[in-house]
Each structure stands twice: as C-alpha cells, then as structure tokens.
Symmetry: C2
Subunit: 249 residues, 2 copies
C-alpha cells in the first residue's frame, strides 16, 4: 500500500500466471475480487474495516458495483488499484477505484455503494448522522469517480437461461454467496468466441438480497442490443437477489 494523497491508497498488483482469462487478460472475477480487497484494506487503514465495525455489531454490505474498463491488463503487466471514499449520504457511502498503469494512465475505473447495517436488526445506519462527524475525516470530498452512472434499463421480456444451486464454493466468510460469484454467474453466459469478438467493457451489479448455501438461483436474461445484456438472479421464492448489466465493446 502507498498513500498517494490524504485518504487515497494505492495497492500494486501484476497479472500473475493463472490469473488470466482465455483472452490473455486479467480475469474479470479476479479484478472484482481485488477491488473488494482494496476496499477492505483501505477501510481498515482508516478505522472502519469489517473487523473494526463488527465490534459495534455492524457490517458493511455492498449495494452496487460498477466496473468500467477501456482495456484490461495482460499477462505480467503491472497495475494498481487506487481507492477513496468521496461522500456519505443517508445510509450510503460511495467508494471509488481507479485501475491504473504504472505510468498513471487508466485501464478503467470502478465505483461502489455500501451500506453499514446493524447485524442483529439488519437495519442500515444513517451514515451522515454519526456522532463526532463519523467517517467524515476519511473522505476525499472533491474527487468523484469518472464512471458514468448506470443507464436505466428495465427488463420487459426476461428469459430464464440457467439455474445454479449455491454450494460451498460460492460462499464468502459470512456464509453468503459472494458478490463476485454473482458476477461469474452472469459471465458464464458467454463463450470464448463471444468474448473474442466483443470483450466485456462494463459490468453493473445491484445487490438486493443475500444468497445462502443450498438456495437455487435462477438467472434471467434479456438482450438490449448485441452488446448490452440485462440480467436478474432470482431466488426460489421469486425474490430478486441481484440485477446486473454486462456491456461488451
């Protein structure tokens, strides 16, 4: 970790052997995972990581994740993930990420929205009303993220395209289906040929309800055009667990 400016941390990585997809690029699930890792490391450095908030019976819940990449790092290339938090509003906080080349130019950017919930009541905390200014000292208030806001798509004719029974390999340390496993569930809809023709540029995820071990998750799909596809993952009772959009270039 390098602190590159007040409240902005940079984590260095390289595309290691066995971390690429079939295009020879850093795999999307690994990038997603490292983004969440950087979030946790930065939050911990500033006193509000998982291990710190659990002392107050609270936990961070990922509500939205958008990753938008102009290009992906390739085998052996170095890259860094820079992260900062720019605002607190009601029960939410926005955390941003820049995925940078060693020369400082961007491969792409990501943005996330998190809520801090009481793990007993499952109710969110009003982050802008915490005592003593709360997390305000950790903000970088004048640095929004250059990721464009998600387009407002609505599924009109969703088609159920796959099912997945959540199992041990899907679970995170809290026993929930991990956020990035949902991304994989959507990426599993693509073949090597699909990706060679049009690699993924952008993934937008909205997390509504957690998935648990043993649950049957159904993936619904709707193509907006040849490069934009909408997804919804539903539980057996019809509840939406996750919505997603995958945009290729």
């Amino acid at each position: 970790m390098t602190q590159i400016a007040p409240n902005i941390s940079k984590y260095d990585f390289a595309v290691e052997p066995f971390s690429e997809d079939c295009l020879g690029c850093l795999s999307w699930p690994l990038l997603g995972n490292l983004i969440l890792r950087a979030a946790t490391l930065h939050a911990t450095e500033h006193g509000f990581g998982y291990k710190q908030v659990i002392n107050f019976n609270h936990a961070w819940v990922l509500s939205r994740l958008t990753i938008d990449m102009d290009e992906m790092p390739r085998t052996a290339e170095a890259y860094s993930i820079t992260t900062w938090v720019d605002r607190l509003y009601r029960q939410f906080t926005d955390r941003h990420f820049a995925i940078l080349r060693p020369d400082g130019t961007a491969y792409g950017y990501a943005t996330t929205v998190w809520a801090l919930i009481d793990i007993t009541s499952r109710r969110p905390t009003m982050l802008d009303q915490l005592p003593d200014g709360g997390f305000n000292a950790a903000l970088v208030p004048d640095l929004p993220c250059p990721v464009s806001a998600p387009a407002r798509h609505r599924m009109k004719n969703p088609v159920k395209v796959s099912e997945h029974r959540a199992n041990y390999t899907d679970l995170d340390i809290n026993g929930h289906v991990n956020s990035i496993r949902f991304v994989e569930l959507l990426l599993a809809r693509y073949s090597k040929a699909d990706m060679e023709a049009h690699p993924v540029k952008r993934i937008e995820m909205t997390y509504a309800y957690e998935g648990y071990c043993g649950e049957l998750l159904s993936v619904y799909e709707e193509h907006v055009d040849s490069l934009t596809t909408l997804y919804e993952v539903k539980k057996e009772d019809g509840t939406t667990a996750v919505k997603g959009v995958i945009i290729r270039r």
Copy 2:
C-alpha cells in the same frame, strides 16, 4: 520470491480479505491457483517456464495434483509456498510444494506431476533424454515431498450427480478448462454444513483430457466412506477428462 536453498524458491502470501471460504480459511481453489502460480514462477526463474518452452513449440501439461493440508491458514495469517523439482523420469517430472507458516512449520504439502508436450503433435518429450542434461541442473534430487501416494481407489458404482457446460469463466489462457476449475466442480458437491462438520484435508486430481468451451462436463461420484469420495468428470462422448478424490477430516 526468496531462494531459500539452491533450486528451492519461496513465495510469500497472506490470507487477504475476500480470499477465504465460509470457514474463514484460505479457499481451496485459491490455494490450488497459487500452487500453480508458484510452479510457473519457479520454472521461469530456471529457464523452463511456459514462455520459455513455447519458443521450442512445447507446453507444460499438468498430469496430477495432490494437496494435503493438516490445517488451512486463516484470515490475515501469513503463509508461504516453497517449491522445487526432485526428478525427471521418462516423460514426467515431479514438482513439490510445502505450504509453511512464518515459523517454518507446515500447514501442509502438495505434489504435482507434469509432462512437456510438443504443441503440434501433442506428444510428450522424454525429459530424461534431453540434450546437455536438460533440466537436471534445476533439480533438488534428495528432497522428495512428504505427501503420501494416492490410495488406489476404483469406482464401482459411480452415480452422475451434476452437469456443467464449460464457458468463458472456466477457461485458462490456453482456452482449456482450467485445472483448478475442475477442483471447484468437485467441491461444489459440498454444503457449508458438510464442510463445517468435516473440512477438506486432501484433494487428489488426475488430469486425463483437456476440457473445451461449450463442452458438457458430467460429474460422477462414489462415496468410499463418510469422509472419502471419488469423482470422475466425463465429456459428452464418455471420455474421462479428470478423476478426483476428496478426503475430509
């Protein structure tokens, strides 16, 4: 990387946020991935990594992988993977791994068998007959691995338990279903409760034929006893892609 003795390299890791399973331990797929990463890094340091042998139209193919862990590192714990090659015999070479705590005691060990194939003819090279001694100078001939040999199990009444259509998320940089994804396919047979009662101690994989995008892979299972299960993954034409054994403790 630290060279801890001639031809023995050590790679340091820690259990980072979002790399644990639901037991709070380093996840098995990630451990498998890091073992293969260490293999590639060490081979590259000694002049026979993927990028070097491809210049001679050759590629390394993983034939067997056995990982045997007394304990798994947990959240934030540091561990290292030490690797060395102890012998060449006919078309095979044995590469071993120790997964160590910072104090040098072992979490566990792993061993692998590799072949070097001509990528045009797909035929293996006789590794003990290479000119100029071949890779002999990179061996650590007196250091076998303390992983016990796999028991000889044969499936008598295999039951087909799942199917998986290989897709983009399963593929490695060569466009094959990646070796660790097959491990995940077997681990997907377990629930959180299964693993809480009896965590995995040992995984044995034998790789026979590569899997490709679009192929339907069928998983067959047979329980030897309550803690030992045999697996076979077959392609649509009935060919065995992979055999596996999972032993819990």
